[in-house]
Symmetry: C2
DNA sequence: GTCTATACTAGGATAGAC
DNA sequence: GTCTATCCTAGTATAGAC
């Protein structure tokens, strides 16, 4: 079993259970690999696994969230494309965000820098698109933040309510949150 | 040591570390009580502690978030009052939300219903205020959701970036998010 | 590269004295 | 109501065979 198949499995575990909630036993069960095999692939154990997941996610953010924003097409169309990918990534709001699980408690010190960098590059791409669409720099940045805030918050609220409605609505409203109505 | 002093301590622990990250040893250290004393107060252990924290929080939501929204004064003033309390509760964005820590992994099944009820009563109070201010019911509900979404999302993003700016900005914008500009 | 077996630590929980 | 001592399970990690 190769790293390319293990890391996505790890991603699902970390975002479902958070850093502390993920145990080697659970990983073993989910991947079908014995504990010793896991330590063969990841000698530094859980912390290394989380780091490789974050690096995989950073790649995914750039390939799937940022790239569409910097591609050809109208600003509105590019935002719509990103929104669609975001919706899939979070499975319509059923899956929670890695950020939550990897910034609680002690994990925060370990991973905050990595997470912050990924979020920042996403924000940057959104803000750049806003500027390209004619917004002042400061406004573009604020609206970019508002979009990421809304996505993360909608995940939290949807989970709390047991109702995906808020998440789906936010996804739908992403283009107008940057460009206005 | 009485329950009134223990439960707020527990709240801080659960929202900092999440359900899985809180250990009896940590609780013992934070409260100064031995493990056996903790089980004397909470015979069902950690699960009971979390339930009592949630009940305490539900009370706090009603007393500190909902009550100002239903008090006398202009809608704008009431929203500003709530925003101020919210800012304090989250210590300007330094403290994370209980929702995150108690909805990850297995904890979700245990506590989702309780958490959902608290969130719902907060949403209801915001939406009622919107209606009172002249908004159609559906719009009021959406904007109420947007406010809670923005608060929760801002906590996540601020933590990820290591920068309280987004949280403080959202707090400032709460009144206009419901009432418009 | 994967397994079984095992060592060791940390976490949850309780018994019984004071 | 709090403590010390203890039990048991779960969790992390490693050794060594195949």
């Amino acid at each position: 079993m190769s790293r390319q198949t293990i890391v996505p499995e790890l991603l699902e575990l970390f975002r479902k259970f958070g850093y502390d909630g993920v145990t080697i036993a659970r990983i073993s069960e989910a991947t079908g690999l014995g504990k010793a095999s896991l330590y063969h692939h990841f000698p530094q154990g859980k912390e290394q696994m989380a780091r490789e997941v974050l690096s995989f996610v950073d790649q995914a953010v750039n390939d799937y969230f940022v790239a569409p924003l910097r591609a050809a097409g109208s600003p509105k169309q590019r935002l719509t494309n990103m929104a669609k990918v975001v919706e899939e990534f979070y499975d319509c709001g059923n899956k929670s965000c890695l950020i939550e699980g990897l910034t609680l408690g002690d994990a925060n010190e370990l991973f905050q820098e990595l997470i912050g960098a990924s979020v920042e590059s996403w924000l940057q791409a959104l803000a750049d698109l806003g500027v390209e669409a004619g917004l002042p720099k400061k406004i573009a940045r604020e609206r970019a933040e508002n979009i990421v805030i809304a996505i993360q918050g909608a995940l939290v609220v949807s989970r709390a309510l047991g109702n995906r409605g808020p998440f789906r609505r936010i996804i739908r409203d992403i283009p107008s949150m940057l460009l206005g109505n």
